[in-house]
C-alpha cells in the first residue's frame, strides 16, 4: 500500500511540474499578446483617418503610417512561433490566447491591402506578411475568414464617408468587391459557429453599400452617366 501511495505521489508530482510548465508557457504567451494588443490598437488608430482623408496624398500617408506597424506585428508573431516551435503539435492547446487578436490582425492587413489594391488578401499572403511559416505557426484558416468578415463592416462605413467626401466611384468598387466576397463565402460549408454568425452579418453590410451605390447612381453622380443637374438639398 505504501509503495502504491509513493507511486501515486510521484506521478502527481510529475503532473504538477508539467502543468506548471504549461502555465508558464501561457504566461509567456500572455505577455506577447498584451504587446500585440497594444500594436493592434495603435495600428487601428493610425488607420482610422483613412475615413476622412481628403486627398489621395493624405490617404497614402495614412496607409503608410498603418503599414509601418506591420514590422512590429511580424516581430510579435515570430515570438509566438518561437514559443510554439519547441512544443510541436500544441499550437491549438494555446490557440485561444491569440485567436481574437488574429481576427483583428487579419482584418487590418486585409483592409490595408484592399485600400492599396482593391483586391483580397489571401490566406498565404497573410502568413507571408506576418512572416510565419505555415508548417511552424500557421494562421488558422477560420481565424483568417473571421478577419475577412470584419472588413465588410469597415468598408460599409468607408463608402459612406468617401461619398460624403465626393468620391462617387468608391461605392461601385466596394460593392463589386463585397459581392464577390459574399459569393465566395457562399462556396463554403459553414458550421453553426462564430464564423457563420459573422458571415451572416456580411449581407447587411453589402446591402448598405448597395444602397449607397443606388443613391449615387440615381442622382447621376457616377462619372459614366451624363450628369443631370445635381440635386440641391
Amino acid at each position: 500500500m505504501d509503495e502504491n501511495r509513493n507511486l501515486m505521489e510521484l506521478q502527481f508530482e510529475e503532473f504538477r511540474a508539467q502543468l506548471e510548465e504549461s502555465g508558464a508557457v501561457r504566461e509567456k504567451i500572455r505577455a506577447v499578446i498584451s504587446e500585440l494588443d497594444n500594436v493592434i490598437r495603435v495600428m487601428q488608430a493610425a488607420l482610422l483617418p483613412v475615413h476622412h482623408a481628403t486627398t489621395p496624398q493624405s490617404g497614402k500617408e495614412v496607409l503608410n503610417k498603418a503599414k509601418s506597424y506591420i514590422a512590429q506585428l511580424q516581430n510579435l508573431y515570430s515570438q509566438l512561433a518561437e514559443i510554439i516551435r519547441v512544443r510541436p503539435g500544441q499550437y491549438y492547446r494555446y490557440h485561444d490566447h491569440w485567436r481574437n487578436q488574429t481576427h483583428t490582425v487579419v482584418f487590418l492587413l486585409a483592409f490595408v491591402h484592399w485600400l492599396d489594391t482593391q483586391g483580397l488578401l489571401s490566406h498565404s499572403e497573410v502568413e507571408t506578411l506576418l512572416g510565419v511559416k505555415p508548417e511552424e505557426f500557421s494562421i488558422d484558416v477560420e481565424d483568417y475568414l473571421v478577419g475577412l468578415c470584419n472588413i465588410s463592416n469597415e468598408l460599409s462605413r468607408y463608402v459612406v464617408n468617401r461619398v460624403t467626401a465626393g468620391d462617387y466611384e468608391c461605392p461601385r468598387q466596394v460593392s463589386a468587391f463585397l459581392s464577390d466576397l459574399f459569393s465566395a463565402f457562399r462556396i463554403l460549408n459553414l458550421r453553426n459557429d462564430l464564423l457563420r454568425k459573422r458571415f451572416d452579418g456580411l449581407k447587411y453590410d453589402l446591402k448598405k453599400v448597395e444602397e449607397v451605390l443606388y443613391d449615387v447612381k440615381i442622382r447621376g453622380l457616377l462619372s459614366d452617366q451624363a450628369a443631370p443637374k445635381p440635386m440641391v438639398s
Binding site: 501511495r5 501515486m8 506521478q11 503539435g89 498565404s124 484558416v141 465566395a184 463554403l188
Partner: protein, 285 residues
C-alpha cells in the same frame, strides 16, 4: 423586400459564376495548400475569379476538417459506450464470480482499445490532438476511467498515465507515431474514477467486505491529495472544478461509510456482520 433583392443578387452571381467558368480561359490560382488530393478535387478551378479559386480551396480544407471532427465525435461516442459497459461489468463482480467477470472485463477493455480507440487514433496527426480535443476528449476520459477501474479491481492500485500510454504503444496515429493520452485527459478520467470507486466501496461494505472500503478510501484520499497539489487545468477549467468537487464529495461518502463500519461494526464480530447480511439478502430474493 430585402430578401428578394438578396435572392436576386445570388441568382445573378450564380449566373456570373457559370459564365465565367465557360468563358474564361486563364488559369488563376496556385497549387492547393493541402496537397493530399482527397478525391474531392473540384471540377474546374480554371478561368475563375482568383478569389473564388482561393475560396474553393479553403472550402475543401474546411470540409475535410469538419468531416474529421464528425468522425472523431462518433469514434469518441463509441469509445464511451463500450467503456461504460466495461465499468458496469466491474460493478457486477461479487465474491464468487470475481475471476471470471474480471477476466471478461479485461477482455472487453482490450477490445475497446484495439477497435474503437484505434479508430480514433488513426484520425489524428500533428496539431490534431489539441485541435479536435473537444470532439474526442469525453471518450478518452471514459476510457481512462474504465481502464483504471479494471486495474483497481485487479490489483487495488491506480493505473498510471505511463502504464496507460504503454498499453497504446501499438496504436499508431495517422503520422505513424504511437498514440498518447495527454495529462489533462488522464487527470479528468481519473477524476471520474473516484465516483466509481466510491460505488465499489459502498457495495463492498454492503457485501460484507469492509477491508475493500478501506483500501478504496486510501486510494481516493491519495488521489484527492494528489489533485489538490495540481494547478487547475487551464484546458478544462469548468470540468476541473466540478470534478474536484465531486471527488471531495465521494471521499467524504467513503470516509463516512468507513466510520460507520468502524463504529457500529465494533458492536458485532465481523463474521456476523457479513454473514448476517448475506443471509438476509438471500432471504429476500
Amino acid at each position: 423586400m430585402e430578401d428578394t433583392r438578396l435572392k436576386e443578387r445570388k441568382k445573378k452571381h450564380e449566373k456570373m459564376e457559370l459564365q465565367e467558368e465557360v468563358v474564361g480561359g486563364r488559369v488563376f490560382g496556385k497549387k492547393p495548400r493541402t496537397a493530399v488530393g482527397m478525391g474531392l478535387a473540384q471540377t474546374s478551378s480554371q478561368g475563375m475569379n482568383p478569389l473564388h479559386t482561393n475560396f474553393q480551396e479553403i472550402g475543401r480544407e474546411l470540409d475535410l476538417m469538419n468531416e474529421k471532427r464528425e468522425r472523431l465525435v462518433k469514434a469518441s461516442r463509441d469509445v464511451t459506450i463500450h467503456s461504460k459497459k466495461v465499468i458496469f461489468a466491474v460493478h457486477r463482480i461479487s465474491g464468487l464470480n470475481k475471476a471470471a467477470t474480471l477476466e471478461q472485463a479485461q477482455r472487453d477493455l482490450n477490445a475497446v482499445r484495439s477497435n474503437q480507440v484505434t479508430r480514433l487514433a488513426r484520425e489524428m496527426q500533428g496539431n490534431d490532438y489539441w485541435k479536435f480535443r473537444r470532439a474526442f476528449s469525453p471518450g478518452m476520459q471514459e476510457f481512462v476511467e474504465a481502464a483504471a477501474t479494471v486495474e483497481f479491481a485487479k490489483t487495488g492500485r491506480l493505473l498510471t498515465l505511463a502504464e496507460l500510454n504503454r498499453s497504446f504503444l501499438h496504436i499508431k496515429d495517422a503520422a505513424n507515431k504511437p498514440f498518447e493520452v495527454s495529462i489533462p485527459d488522464y487527470i479528468l478520467g481519473v477524476g471520474d474514477l473516484t465516483g466509481e470507486l466510491m460505488r465499489l466501496a459502498v457495495s463492498g461494505i454492503a457485501a460484507g467486505q469492509p477491508e475493500a472500503a478501506i483500501s478504496v478510501c486510501n486510494l481516493i484520499r491519495g488521489l484527492y491529495e494528489g489533485f489538490s497539489m495540481l494547478p487547475s487545468l487551464q484546458e478544462n477549467l469548468r470540468d476541473w472544478k466540478t470534478k474536484s468537487d465531486t471527488m471531495f464529495q465521494s471521499l467524504m461518502k467513503v470516509e463516512t461509510a468507513c466510520y460507520n463500519v468502524h463504529v457500529r461494526g465494533s458492536e458485532y464480530p465481523p463474521e456476523m456482520l457479513a454473514g448476517d447480511f448475506e443471509y438476509s439478502r438471500d432471504d429476500h430474493s
